[in-house]
């Protein structure tokens, strides 16, 4: 299943600045997303910012990544460039519309 642009951006930054390989990076993000109740296919940049702020540092520390605050700062910068990518229909958006 294809991952969202926000997911790909975080993965790319982890590969560049945390020296993680593709699968380790994806695994760390997936675990953080699971803790947040989000899915790789439709996570938005706004949601990903919260994940990077609150959950990803713990995942990176558990993988002994050096200078986690700096890595997360760079990821936040990359996410800021993405802008609003929340056009895709997710179940929560559908259910919000259905009951409004």
């Amino acid at each position: 299943m294809a991952a969202s642009a926000a997911f790909e951006a975080v993965q790319s930054e982890l590969e560049r600045f945390a020296n993680m390989d593709r699968w380790n990076a994806r695994g760390a993000i997936q675990l953080a997303l699971m803790d947040a109740g989000l899915e790789a296919s439709n996570v938005t940049s706004a949601q990903m910012k919260v994940v990077v702020e609150r959950l990803l540092p713990k995942q990176l520390q558990s993988q002994k990544i050096a200078d986690v605050p700096n890595v997360c700062e760079r990821i936040r910068g990359a996410l800021a460039l993405l802008g609003d990518d929340s056009r895709a229909d997710s179940p929560d958006k559908v259910f919000q519309r259905l009951g409004s």
Binding site: G37, S41, R54, L55, D92
Partner: protein, 253 residues
Amino acid sequence: MQSFSVIGLVIYTIASAVVGVRLLIRANRSHGLPELLAGLSYIGAPALGYPLAIVSSQLSNRAVATPLYLVGETSLVFGCCCFLFFTVKVFRPSAYWALVLAAIGSAVLTGSGLGIIHSWLAYTDPLEVTAHARTPLALMVGVLLLSYVWTALEGFRYYRMMRKRMALGMADAVVTNRFLLWTLSGLCSMAWISVSAIMLAMGYNLARNPINVSVTCAGGILNTVFLVLIFMPPAAYTRWVHRSARAPQLATA
């Protein structure tokens, strides 16, 4: 028991029709496929199909009963197919396996619907109709049971995800609650379809058996409550959900 069945059927029919029409109006404005599928599903199955199938099977005049039965059975099958594709579109939009499952389910529903209609047209004695419709009806009930199991599982999976999001301030309490109600609605439908499956296995006519019709109608009334709370929630209910969601946070503050 008969009057209870009628009351339950009427309440569920009216509520489903209101919800269905509202969803179709919303689909017309938003051009959203989920709204369209849900609207067609509620109009097709509980608002039109099921009551017509029940009422026509009680009529003694075949000239009146047959067209009603044909419209009812066709609407029922169409509504159930829309419901399957609603689940796919909302919860598994990019999963090929889900699309294939919905297509197979719809094919079985259509085939069993044709089988049931054939029995109705080929025989006039209700006992013979029941006997010859048993196999296609069993198939239809089986697919419906599985579709509600799927609905409940998807609803509960997403409800758990939304609870985690709420803890991080990323989800609205009312929308989160809607997934719980959707799960409960799926479980409720699953329960009454299970009763139908048991009655069918015991050789009863589902449309004429008072226990089956009563259980279906009790489930229908309960489902009406869920439909209202999901699609037309009263302001008092949404306030209560918001208050309930805030209470644990205040307690830990």
